[in-house]
């Protein structure tokens, strides 16, 4: 569904993305992991057209996304830190997004909205909200328009355990509907029972892109976190020998 070819991005001298090529298919739930500053968020932003790469291209369903904006109708994005105009209420933010997406009320997915209990807080102003509640609003917005692609940047950060579970259930449900879901997270245990593929980024390059099963089989670990730890250890070993 999304093809990335030879994508490079530099901030000043820093190579944030270095010749990245990836193919992301529908029906998969992909964990995008890697250490801080490895280029995960930059990659997501490149897919969303929020940063402009120096070279390479990204196609969405076969069409180049450069100077395009309509394709984002099919993407739901939950940012790392959802910040909204401070004087707007939750209701106004939701209305604004509905206005932007122009989706009929009947087609909306209000599942999370109700599950998180946001319907009772419509008149609260954004500046009065806690970080967790803002995350709820962000999550709600990402899923609301039934997009084919979901990009979730640290979705569980700041959420209480109950809400985390609700969100994970929702992600699972969406996966069933053949959607492409990309998740970045530091909390690998959260991802264990969700993801089907893993992309590991380091220094602006994808170190590997494997299915979860293949990864577990290779490393002999039963959990994602252990598998990753093992990969990193071997990788460092190799670096050291070089």
């Amino acid at each position: 569904m999304i093809t990335i070819q030879h994508l490079s991005k530099k901030f000043g001298k820093l190579h944030v993305l270095d010749d990245v090529s990836l193919t992301l298919e529908g029906g998969q739930c992909i964990a995008l992991i890697g250490p801080n500053g490895s280029g995960k968020t930059t990659l997501i932003k490149a897919i969303l057209g929020m940063i402009v790469p120096q070279s390479g291209n990204i196609t969405f369903k076969g069409k180049d996304i450069a100077h395009e904006w309509r394709y984002r109708n099919q993407i739901g994005y939950m940012p790392q830190m959802g910040r909204y105009p401070e004087n707007m209420t939750i209701g106004q933010v939701l209305n604004m997004m509905k206005d932007i997406r122009k989706m009929p009320e009947s087609a909306l997915d209000n599942h999370l909205f109700i599950a998180f209990g946001l319907d009772g807080m419509l008149d609260k102003r954004m500046r009065t909200l806690s970080g967790g509640t803002r995350q709820k609003v962000s999550a709600c917005l990402a899923f609301m328009f039934n997009p084919e692609v979901l990009i979730l940047d640290e979705p569980t950060a700041g959420l209480d355990p109950l809400s985390t579970e609700l969100l994970k259930d929702k992600i699972r449900a969406e996966k069933q509907q053949d959607k492409l879901i990309v998740i970045t997270s530091h909390v690998l245990s959260d991802l264990d029972d969700l993801v089907t593929e893993v992309i590991y980024m380091q220094d602006g390059k994808p170190l590997f892109h494997k299915s979860l099963q293949a990864l577990k089989a290779e490393t002999g670990a039963d959990r994602l976190s252990k598998a990753i730890a093992q990969v990193m250890a071997t990788h460092e070993l190799m670096e050291g020998t070089l």
Binding site: G49, R72, P79, R83, Y84, R101
Partner: protein
């Protein structure tokens, strides 16, 4: 586009700063007009406030607002919206909010106390300055990523337009007073929208003095329909150009 404008304006109009700004302008205007015994003197006293405060607040408030809205702008960019739509909406939102605040704070007292040609000119110029400095703020913030440095740049720009420019003009004027610099000086004044506005208001308030020696030159330029058209065009350019540069940059900007 309209819907984003709508939300930006709704957000801005609820902002405390805008309300305080409006209230302060209103209190200043009403007290100036009730203290001065003639409308003309009131306009003169307001002139300095308008030329000083309006650019500063428009520039600084817009800059701070834009930096504080960085994440919101990111959110909008991640949505199915064109980047120019977003940027134009933000500009229109800020422009409407600032000029509305000015119109309520200064415009209404002027209409009530001094509905004269000079009063109307003061209103028009104040509104134009609001727009221009919103536009300049957009340009400054889009070029500078860091908030502190961006605000610093705004303050420097304001100092330049409000004070330094005049000092340079005065210096040039004394240095080259023996040369025929009249037309050059008029052209120079066009390089600063605050000066252009001030001269436009001066031509109303101090029309008698402006009809004197220098006035003859100003009058030839500003007093004719053609000159007025050029002046209006210059003020429009001052609004459009920084904004146009900012939008060009914003379209290529990494968020």
């Amino acid at each position: 586009m309209n819907k984003i404008i709508k939300y930006v304006i709704a957000d801005l109009l609820r902002s405390r700063t805008i309300m305080v700004y409006t209230a302060v302008l209103a209190v200043l205007s009403v007290s100036v007009f009730s203290m001065e015994d003639s409308a003309g003197k009131g306009v003169v006293s307001l002139l300095n406030i308008v030329l000083f405060v309006v650019p500063l607040v428009s520039l600084l408030f817009s800059t701070v607002y834009l930096y504080n809205s960085a994440e919101f702008i990111e959110l909008l960019v991640s949505q199915p919206l064109r980047r120019d739509t977003i940027w134009i909406s933000i500009f229109v939102g800020l422009a409407v909010a600032m000029s509305l605040a000015f119109m309520v704070g200064v415009g209404i007292p002027v209409v009530l106390y001094a509905a004269t040609a000079s009063g109307v000119m003061l209103m028009l110029c104040g509104a134009a300055l609001s727009l221009i400095f919103v536009s300049v703020a957009l340009w400054a913030t889009v070029r500078v990523r860091d908030k502190a440095r961006g605000i610093g740049l705004s303050i420097l720009l304001w100092l330049y337009f409000a004070l330094l420019f005049d000092a340079v003009v005065l210096f040039l004027l004394f240095q080259f007073s023996d040369y025929p610099i009249e037309n050059g000086m008029v052209a120079l004044s066009m390089l600063n929208p605050i000066d252009t506005s001030r001269i436009l208001i001066l031509l109303q308030v101090d029309v008698s003095a402006m009809m004197g020696y220098t006035g003859a030159i100003f009058r030839k330029f500003f007093g004719t329909d053609g000159g007025m058209a050029i002046t209006a065009t210059i003020l429009v350019l001052w609004t459009v150009l920084p904004f146009w540069f900012s939008i060009r940059f914003f379209k290529r900007k990494d968020l």
